[in-house]
């Protein structure tokens, strides 16, 4: 569809809204300009998001080795992944474990750092820079650094552990420690979360704390009854985005472990990548990608729904 056609269609829809009084000439001009303004996004959304998602659903119902013609096989790909593919379940297991550990730990660490940065601290800007910097470095470079950090004999991680007289594990070379290693590494990149929380903390009005101080509340009580509730919308946002992002982990595993050892770090996106671009099972890879999409969608909805119980919004004070 050409862009002018798309705009004409949309402008037509606008005109067809009969329940409202007819638009004046000026309003219609503004509406047309509005559709033109958002048309780059609308086209991008249709071409690069909506149509591909639906196309992926169609491809997932085919057996398609890129060079041949796609052959319709119905739900057989989903049947295979659910009941006949240990690697799929391994990739789900590994990804879910990563998300379950990474998200809460990084939330706690970034909240702790944000609380620290919210104190009167000499050189606060410098500290903030140091904590945030790891989050901007290219992930490929970060992965290279951490392969060397996790080197069992000469890496800095185990030489620090050796100071305590313990011999550290084999980290990314051990099927038991590879996943924890990637989780530890991800905690180095909590800078973004820290800045989000810091902005949230600075938005809490000081008079709430002053009132609580007059009432004789201690620091811990103030944290529980002012900081956490006031921060909860930000926490919800950060958690949801972090869960979504964590489900997409790929680069670290591709570079550092190649999914191993023994598939210990075969994350879902890595498994999708292998199926599609190393083994050229386009149909099966598309089915896996749809599983990723559904899992992320369902978990996001659950998180947003459950948030009504624990997220505090301004203007709805009081009531437990």
């Amino acid at each position: 569809m050409s862009s002018s056609q798309a705009q004409a269609d949309l402008a037509g829809n606008g005109r067809a809204g009969r329940r409202r009084p007819r638009m004046s000439g000026i309003a219609r001009k503004e509406a047309i300009a509005g559709y033109i303004a958002i048309s780059p996004w609308l086209l991008g959304f249709l071409i690069f998001q909506l149509v591909p998602i639906l196309a992926a659903l169609y491809i997932s119902s085919t057996e398609w080795r890129i060079l041949s013609v796609p052959e319709f096989i119905g739900l057989r790909n989903f049947d295979k992944l659910l009941f006949n593919d240990d690697l799929f379940w391994q990739s789900i297991k590994v990804t879910v474990i990563y998300v379950i550990f990474r998200v809460p730990f990084s939330a706690m660490l970034s909240l702790a750092l944000a609380l620290l940065m919210n104190q009167q601290l000499a050189g606060r800007r410098l500290f903030r820079t140091i904590y945030y910097l790891p989050a901007v470095i290219p992930l490929v470079a970060v992965s290279m650094m951490w392969i060397w950090i996790f080197n069992p004999e000469y890496g800095v991680m185990n030489s620090i552990i050796r100071v305590f007289g313990i011999e550290g594990p084999q980290w990314i070379h051990s099927s038991r420690w590879a996943l924890p290693a990637l989780i530890i590494m991800s905690l180095w990149q909590v800078g973004t979360g820290m800045v989000i929380f810091l902005a949230g903390l600075q938005g809490i009005p000081a008079h709430l704390y002053e009132a609580a101080t007059i009432d004789g509340a201690n620091t811990w009580q103030k944290f529980l009854s002012i900081t956490l509730p006031m921060l909860s919308p930000v926490v919800l946002f950060a958690l949801v985005m972090n869960v979504i992002g964590s489900f997409q982990i790929f680069t670290q595993a591709y570079i550092m472990t190649g999914g191993g050892p023994g598939n210990a770090t075969l994350f879902l996106v890595l498994y999708i990548y292998r199926n599609a671009f190393e083994w050229f099972h386009m149909g099966y890879a598309a089915a896996l990608a749809w599983v990723l999409f559904l899992v992320v969608l369902i978990i996001s909805i659950i998180m947003l729904r459950s948030s009504e119980r624990w997220v505090h919004y301004e203007g709805r004070m009081g009531g437990a």
Binding site: A31, P138, T251
Partner: protein, 288 residues
């Protein structure tokens, strides 16, 4: 607790000072932990090979081998990868700024039926794991003959760019007074001239934030270029670094030197525009 009141009593004063000391101690300890990986990378990058496999590790390289950097950057065509990365990144940044500014303007300032629902759809797409679109997009670009070209990396950025940037700029436009538009309209300005001549110059801080994040994300992108670029001489920096490791996997000094150089542009940009980073994340909560 933001304001610590100095109580007249000595006991409280003592508590206050020990608290402050503890806070500084924590901050310093944390900073040390965060800096160790960097120091380790830089230290390794300057060491001769025989000093790398040594226990206990030596933090200060002795002798300092600057030529590791020259060697690392010349055994593979890193200058070419830099050029490729800059080409892709600059065009992507331009595309993302232009398209997200126009779209954000539409959502912030112009009234049209369906605006709110479309904006909600836009926000919802922030939560989409893009890998679900990866296979159809690969097939689309393959049919267009665009595989192994830079089009798949650049063209989508001209069509809307990123919902984060649209959201960020929309919030920014909303803070500019509406009277500006009204006055220009009375003078006979059309909506796009208002954007171009009046709002964009005022939105430069917002546009800068977008430019910086766009640079960062495009420079660091790995999976999508990995899929669409095949030829070694088309590689971007992250692909080059990955290829370097495949060939010279245990040359840790060279690998660390190359990794450091690959990170350097982002580090420089980060130090130059730090406040924009912080501002951008604070408004959008960009990328967990």
């Amino acid at each position: 607790m933001k304001t610590v009141i100095s109580w007249p009593s000595n006991r409280y004063q003592l508590l206050h000072w020990s608290n402050r000391a503890l806070i500084h101690l924590l901050a310093v300890a944390g900073a040390a932990a965060f800096l160790i990986p960097f120091l380790w990378m830089i230290s390794t990058s300057l060491k001769p090979m025989e000093k790398i496999f040594q226990y206990p590790p030596q933090w200060m390289p002795e002798p300092i081998l600057w030529r590791n950097y020259v060697e690392a950057l010349t055994v593979m065509p890193f200058a070419l990868y830099f050029r490729n990365s800059i080409f892709v990144t600059v065009l992507s940044v331009v595309g993302q700024i232009l398209s997200s500014a126009v779209v954000a303007y539409g959502f912030a300032r112009l009234r049209f039926p369906g605006r709110d629902i479309l904006f909600i759809i836009l926000l919802a797409t922030m939560m989409l794991p893009w890998q679900v679109t990866m296979i159809p997009l690969f097939i689309l670009f393959r049919n267009l003959g665009w595989i192994n070209t830079y089009y798949p990396l650049i063209v989508p950025n001209f069509l809307g760019g990123s919902p984060f940037f649209i959201f960020l700029l929309r919030q920014f436009f909303l803070t500019l007074p509406l009277e500006l538009d009204e006055a220009a309209k009375l003078d006979g300005c059309g909506p796009f001239r208002i954007l171009w001549q009046i709002l964009l110059p005022l939105a430069i801080p917002g546009l800068t934030t977008v430019a910086i994040f766009s640079f960062l994300w495009n420079w660091n992108e790995f999976l999508w270029p990995l899929i669409v670029l095949n030829d070694i001489d088309k590689w971007t920096i992250p692909l080059g670094l990955n290829g370097f490791r495949d060939q010279y996997g245990t040359d840790w000094n060279h690998l660390m030197a190359a990794s450091f150089v690959a990170s350097l542009p982002v580090i420089i940009i980060f130090f130059m525009f730090q406040s924009y980073f912080i501002q951008g994340i604070a408004t959008t909560g960009a990328k967990g």
